[in-house]
């Protein structure tokens, strides 16, 4: 009985704990790379597979080579954005949600890419999920507390 009470109290505190972790995460700088990419053809695919745990504004910087950079959402299986460049690329795009993304390149010459993430925040759905868990925990806590008396 006390165990269930404590678990519901933990669920009730969960949004606060998650907020603390996300606040620290949002203040830090995050980047991946630099990775070097060779141009992909129809028989060989060279790609960066990256994972980011929240929504963010991303800045991709590629040096040397020329062609087109494609970024795709590999969990939802849809293209996200593509940029064409000659020599250097510096562009911004939005990482719409947490998950896995792939970056690949078509063109000529090898290129080095670095992605920086600015202002990462959890998506609305994640915030809602934590809040629903917290509300559920509070209800459970209230019911158990009343039953205890």
């Amino acid at each position: 009985m006390r165990l269930a009470l404590v678990i519901s109290l933990f669920l009730m505190l969960l949004p606060g704990l998650a907020y603390l972790n996300y606040r620290e995460f949002s203040e830090d700088e995050h980047f991946i790379g630099p990775h070097s990419l060779t141009p992909s053809t129809s028989t060989s695919l060279n790609y960066i597979d990256f994972y980011f745990p929240s929504k963010a504004l991303a800045e991709i910087t590629c040096t040397s080579g020329s062609g087109e950079i494609y970024i795709a959402d590999s969990l939802k299986k849809e293209p996200l954005v593509n940029f064409s460049f000659i020599g250097t690329l510096s562009a911004e795009f939005v990482v719409p949600h947490e998950g896995n993304y792939v970056v690949f390149y078509k063109g000529s010459g090898e290129t080095q890419c670095l992605i920086r993430f600015k202002r990462p925040y959890p998506t609305r759905k994640v915030q809602d999920a934590y809040l629903i868990a917290g509300i559920f925990g509070s209800f459970l806590f209230a019911i158990l507390w009343r039953g205890k008396r």
Binding site: V6, L9, L13, F50, P53, L75, G99, V126, A129
Partner: protein, 249 residues
């Protein structure tokens, strides 16, 4: 037996420690979840087929998820030792065990009830924050997670659980052999940490831990069976014998 277990699970100090464990476990696992990860892959085929980037699996995500069970291990080993010492020694040290042990239960039965409740709390403390932080923090893509979690992830979970079970049984055995809360606490801590320094990754619990870091660990290895199953069983049997043969002190 059921009355004994429910008695153990309702002790206020144990429940409070369990709560602290849930909070600490969630903070450490979730802050490890919040990190970016990237890998570079090359896929080439001899025949000319349309290689679609959308058919690629989310292997970076898989690596992050697979690293999570290991994230809070030092926190969890500390909490398991603390919880075990509290469950096994606190009643004896404060003296009310003398009244408890006059009840018509065998001493070994009380020991086993305490062990079952410790293992239950350990497993709860480990899985509850882990799955909550994974599923809630990826609510936007939650439908895709079950496809990423596969047999290798399950094996990692089992290996880390076995390592925690080893720590729990070690604490149970030492609390029957040593007298007092602090000797047990320090003794089990010393053994867990010295096995890391001495064995060079060959002694439990770190051998199981190192095994869990592999990409696709094998479970039916002789060292896993020996250290993850036989050694805890031996410690339980020794603990039962020690609890029967020693006074309640």
């Amino acid at each position: 037996m059921r009355a004994l277990i429910s008695w153990e699970l309702n002790r206020p100090l144990v429940v409070m420690t369990f709560f602290a464990g849930l909070v600490m476990g969630f903070i450490s696992v979730h802050s490890d979840y919040l990190s970016s990860y990237s890998t570079v892959h090359v896929i080439s085929s001899t025949v000319s087929v349309e290689l679609s980037p959308f058919s690629l699996s989310g292997s970076a995500f898989w690596h992050v998820l697979k690293s999570l069970p290991r994230a809070g291990f030092s926190v969890y080993s500390f909490l398991v030792i603390l919880l075990g010492t509290l469950i096994f020694r606190h009643d004896r040290d404060t003296g009310y065990a003398l009244t408890l042990y006059t009840l018509p239960y065998r001493k070994s039965k009380i020991f086993l009830a305490k062990l079952v409740s410790l293992l239950f709390l350990t497993v709860m403390m480990f899985y509850f924050p882990l799955f909550l932080s994974v599923f809630l923090s990826s609510a936007t893509v939650a439908v895709h997670i079950p496809f990423i979690l596969d047999g290798a992830f399950l094996k990692t979970l089992i290996l880390i659980t076995l390592a925690l079970v080893y720590v729990a049984t070690l604490t149970a055995f030492l609390s029957m052999v040593l007298r007092g809360m602090f000797p047990t606490l320090i003794g089990s801590y010393l053994i867990v940490h010295i096995s890391n320094a001495l064995g060079g990754g060959k002694l439990p619990p770190f051998s199981l831990f190192i095994r869990a870091m592999e990409i696709n660990p094998s479970l039916l290895d002789s060292s896993v069976v020996l250290q993850g199953i036989f050694l805890p069983l031996l410690l339980i049997i020794l603990g039962v014998i020690a609890s029967e043969r020693r006074d309640v002190l």
